[in-house]
Amino acid sequence: MMLQSVPSISPGALLKVDDLVVEYPVGSKIVHAVSGVSLQIARGETLGLVGESGCGKSTLGRAVLQLRRPTAGRVSFDGQDLTAMHGEALRRMRQRVQLIFQDPIASLNPRRRIGDIVAEPLVIAGVKDPEKRKQLVYEVLAAVGLDPNLVVGRLPHEFSGGQCQRICIARALVLNPEFIVCDEPVSALDVSIRAQILNLLEEMKGRFGLTLLFIAHDLAVVKAVSDRVAVMYLGRLCEVGPSEQLFAHPAHPYTALLIEAIPVPDPDVRPTETVPIGEPPSPIAPPSGCRFRTRCPRADQRCSDEMPELRAVAPGQLVACHHPLI
């Protein structure tokens, strides 16, 4: 069952997304969920993807894994074009990529025992020896901080949200994948549990040598785990950059707005009355030019006429804006 490794085209980049487009019909209209996103994730890197609900970040995550087939564009993983793969080849490739969802309780089958849930990817991958499966399940449950002997025979409802997320992480890790898309993995969890799961993800990343696409709406959570951060708005990337740089010197007005809007747990930091900048337009009829222009204090005629392309403003920092802040 060993997967043959294919030499990668661009050394370092495990995942390459080129001009990805995802559109789907709603009634007679088209939702432009992802409109031409390109990004790369290096082996061993965590790329954080932030944006508000409806910006297309989850759709992008799914399209990367081919759980939703993109309308156009290319996704290559370790040099192989996933968008061109079908059937058995895609299924084999999927053993190397996994997904962790937001709602840990809903993503576990309530009628199956934890041991079977975690073993299922092994069954699908063709690990026929039950003893081997059991050994791998026990190892991975212990790795995520659960006592295998206590949990394998139990059902999901016997566990709290935080424990269920540990189980989901164990299931994602059991095939020893290289790449995991984490879609809002901690947003359903309480503060005290959230920190445990974030620490666990970081630990697992080191231990299993993982590469992560970490999708979340909470900028502080994203910063805590990401080497680089990509900011998404209405289906497009606004800005990509190293975490520290992006948060210290945001170049896109939307990034700055997001950072400013975070409530800071410090009574000395008086919340600045945010400029009333309204709500995002519908992805069914996104604005022309720069999609953020309808809420942007710096927008002018050029922003509605011309779509800004991502360009470098600092080492590693790219911004799609005609009037960047730096």
């Binding site: 508000e52 503060v191 959230r194 920190a195 620490n199 910063k223 805590a224 785990v225 009333p276 709500e279």
Partner: protein
């Protein structure tokens, strides 16, 4: 204390019968809110913060057993008739819930719901109520308010729906607004706008407010006082600056430390709180935080610490081994 407070919650306990036994949702809670003041109630899921707000509003599940006293504006809410309570709620005591989709009626227009509330509590004819509704929608930042009156909740975004819920809550000039996780379902840029809106309307109307939230960031810059709840009890209560700077209760400290911070470098391990909150159907003998507390000693497991005063009577905490106050930076 009762004399100058608008609301005083005195020794309130809420018990809920469940198939697994009695669940003590709120455990001997005392709180006061003065006119025009803002109290933040902070805690994680299951800590009893929502049940406490429902006890104040007298909107508890039917099977719930409530003891204690809730004094609001000189009246004992537990002794009021259902009719009197109904008049009070929506008029001088208003509430905004987390999910505006569940608090708005999906089959009635925004206008009908606003006008109905106004006419229920105030003597207004149709024209005056309509005029007032438009003013209210404009005040909460809804564009084209006249046209919104004819729309249904599902035609609005989550942020707009929450603005409508706030407009309805503010419609009769309440003396106290209880906002139960008002922005949890909303995006961060919308959250900031809604919190600004609440603060602005509160100042303008000199209204008291209770913000119930799991997010310490939400209460930090926007409340006068904060009560931290854990396992049904208030475990620390202090003027907001003191709570963040001179906290005594280890749970408050741990909760704040566990938050990812924007000013921390990426990949900084978070000081997580181990374990999880206790099962509320199985009360612990000692301090309910003791199994997770890094300062806990034998006494913490055997005895329940009472709320006691720190340097000032406004700051209380329930802990046998409180955190020593750090050198006062403001001195």
């Amino acid at each position: 204390m009762t004399g100058n407070s608008l609301l005083s919650v005195e020794d309130v306990t809420v018990n809920l019968p469940t198939p697994r036994g009695n669940l003590r949702a709120v455990d001997h809670v005392d709180l006061t809110v003065g006119a025009g003041r803002t109290l933040g109630v902070v805690g994680e899921s299951g800590c009893g913060k929502t049940m406490l707000s429902r006890a104040i509003l007298q909107l508890l599940p039917k099977k719930a057993k409530l003891s204690g006293r809730v004094m609001f504006d000189g009246q004992d809410l537990l002794k009021l008739s259902p009719e009197k309570l109904r008049q009070l709620r929506g008029r001088s005591l208003a509430v905004v819930f987390q999910d505006p989709m569940t608090s708005l009626n999906p089959v009635l227009t925004i206008g009908t719901q606003l006008i109905e509330t106004l006419q229920e509590h105030l003597e207004l004819d149709d024209a005056a109520a309509t005029r007032r509704s438009v003013e209210l929608l404009a005040a909460v930042g809804i564009p084209a308010p006249e046209q919104r009156l004819a729309q249904y909740p599902h035609q609005l975004s989550g942020g707009m729906r929450q603005r409508v819920a706030i407009a309805i809550a503010l419609s009769c000039e309440p003396k106290l607004l209880i906002a139960d996780e008002p922005t949890t379902a909303l995006d961060v840029t919308i959250q900031a706008q809604i919190l600004d809106l609440l603060a602005r309307e509160q100042r303008r109307r000199h209204m008291a407010m209770i913000i119930i939230t799991h997010d310490l960031g939400v209460v930090a810059g926007r409340t006068d006082e904060v009560a931290v709840m854990y396992a049904g009890r208030v475990v620390e209560r202090a003027p907001t600056p003191d709570l963040f700077k001179k906290m005594r209760m280890p749970y408050t400290e741990a909760l704040l430390a566990a938050l990812p911070r924007l000013d921390a470098a990426p990949h900084t391990p978070l000081p997580a709180i181990s374990g999880r909150p206790p099962d509320p159907t199985r009360p612990l003998r000692g301090c309910s935080f003791s199994p997770r507390c890094r300062y806990a000693l034998a006494r913490c497991q055997a005895e329940k610490p009472a709320l006691e005063a720190a340097e000032t009577s406004a700051h209380t905490f329930a802990c046998f081994h409180p955190i020593e106050t750090r050198a006062d930076a403001n001195a």
